[in-house]
Amino acid sequence: MKPDRFWFHRDSFPDYVCRPVARCRLFLPLILLFILNCPVAAAAPHLDFMLENIRHPVFSIRSAGIRLTGSPASNLEINLEQVAIGKQRWRNLHVGCGPVRITRESVICDRGILRIGGQSLKMTFRLSLLQKKFELEVRPVSTRQSKETWQLVIDWQTEKWQGALKVINGDGKYLAGLLPRKKEPVQVRQAILNGNFHLSGDSASVTALSARLNISNLAFSDASGLHAGERISLQLDMDARQDRHGWRWQSKLTWPEGEVFWQPFYFSGGAHQLAAGGTIQDGHIHLSQGEFNLAGIGKADFSAVLNIADQSWQQARFAARNLTLSTLFGNIIRPLVVETALAETEMTGKMDIDWHYPEDNDPSLFIEVHNASLTDAQGRFAVAGLGARLPWSRNVKRDGLIQFDHARVIGIPVGKTQIPIQTEGLQLSIPYAEIPILDGKMAIAHFSAARKDSKSSKDSKDSKDSGDSGWQWQFNGLISPISMEKLTESLQIQPMFGTLSGTIPRVRYANSTVTMEGELVFGIFDGVVVARNLVLTEPLGLTPHLTADIAMHHIDLGLLTHAYSFGNIQGRADVEINDLELINREPVRFDAKITSSAGDDKRRISQAAIRNLIALGGRSAVTAIQQRFLGLFEQFGYAEIGWRCKLRNGICDMGGIESLTHDDSYMLIKGSGIPAINITGYNRSVDWHELLKRLKQAIESGNPVIHGYD
């Protein structure tokens, strides 16, 4: 230690004052050594000594005041305004020792007090100048409940000095008070430390350090409890050594016990391990041998280069093979998607990940999924035999593939499918794919999906997109004939006959809403169905809304009535359902109208169908005379059939072919030929659910009874 300046006053002042600005190579022992070698120390009953700045490659001290009073059994007081090691700062450290035994060979303090971080600790130390050794032991003031001990030994017998710190049942909570404050402070509530630290160095710097530390019963939390850990055990092994190129280091952290909740993730301990090694040179940390083992999920290798000055990653790589998807999805992916349809999804299978962040700042990701399955707990979808190659790059278009053996979406079976995909940044596209559905297939063309943030959507010049944010997609396609019978059976709705086929116009998804532009045309009951203005909101939500206008042309009533066991009606009809709204597949609003199609096709109606139609008409829907005929003939001729219903607030406001003038009745069937029968409706307002319920009962029992809504 070579003081730059040194003022020395004796006798002229009541206290002796030394004020050097020092460049220090060894800490406390040499300060004390300095005191011992100071010519005034032995002679003076009272010494005040002030070191304004002590700088060392490892640490620095600001304003160290040393006071020695009494002789030969003196009292020693050391006050350090600030001690800094690296970025750590400790303020207002105080060492008091009385009496301290000072000889030319040693300084011994058997009863000292160390105050640090607002705590007072018992302290003893022994400085041996002959053996060039300093020993310090620190204990809490009360040791009845704790056997906490901190033992520091520093010796400098050879050119290389070395220090060892042994911690026995150290209080981690006490250490936490010394941690620098962060924006969201996480407080360590308790922790017990046991371990050994070794440092060695030469006159210029520290050249080697190692640590073997066990942390047990660690508990921490922030104020909100959203970042917390309890009963945690950690084992840290670390070695670092300096050579002519820089530092070489190796470390391993094991987490065998405890639990952590770090919003939104939860992990419990159990052989999780993080191992890393590398070098520190030229202002960079090179992490070359990283290995992360998350028990139950799998192992990942990683490497990185970190610029120390600006704390930025220059490059990084992360690779994992055969990760277990059930735990990876449950522990890591699902907590991130709790507000989506995947919130109640289970996943099995294996996954590989390769992530690369190169120096040119164009990161890339490659995910491969093997033998996976995806199952929604609510039964909305399930995928089996799932495999995927998903490459991604921020600036380059990549080709990938998704395939599965079979799937089920809202009850509809989907066959083996291969979907080629292309990714680029936050855009995904499918040029063309065919998806087998039941006995037909759906071809998807020009599918494109992109994630839009609210800012960019506000800036969008496209008025259609303004205000839209989140994921958006669109496609068009083609449906090759799918059996309506099988489709309705899969959907568990009333059976329909015919085929679903046609062109899918542009379908667009944004803001949780699927919108179909143009018309969807398909065939059922040997007729043609045209669906327009189709909008589906929250398709996988709890309450999906579907609105549409549907027109059916030239429907074969024979097929229709057969499907619903409604008796038999021969003839053709046109159906219009406008302003249709379904919630959870249940109609809540529509304007529906059924009328006979134009043409001279055969028009006959069976006795059973008449009885069921009476159910719609209510009361004496046929005259007394007609009632007699009803039992005599199996079939009747008719000229026209008509029924309409305006559904609002659960009430169906009904009508027929035409309103009759003598009362509020309306004609449902206008008879024609021999035998002919007219059917009249009387109930204008019917509770929709009641109507369905009683019609269902009537069809099942063959004895219809429909009451009006009062």
């Binding site: 917390a228 639990e259 952590v260 907590p335 507000e339 919130a343 709890l542 309450t543 959870n584």
Partner: protein, 141 residues
Amino acid sequence: MCKQLINFLMLTALILFMCAGTATAVDFEANTPAVTRLKQNMQQRHSQLAPFYDSGAVGLTRDGLVALRDANAVPLSSRQSVNSLVTAENQDRNALYREIALANNHPEWEEDIRLTFAQRWTASARSGWWYQQGNGSWQKK
């Protein structure tokens, strides 16, 4: 002074009249399939949430939702599932207010319906449950 008092009384009467008018206009018991489904869902979830209302971990917010207000009252291993419960409950509550507004053919009433429900939830909360006051602070009932 007298004029100010009359003005104040008239203003108060006007506000009461407007509130009464809104209250009578909205059918809070609208019974659409969506509302029914949402209520069933929320009813089923309530038994899972009730212990967390009791412990103060979850509270009723001033905007008709629920919030994890004190995670420390929940065992560490349950905090994730409480989070999921709160998220699911809020999804249903938001949907409920939207569906009631739609059932009334007035989607623009959603915010008013939400605030009315917020008051209803608070009023029907059990003693010891926490609710958020108008200024955002939490109050134990």
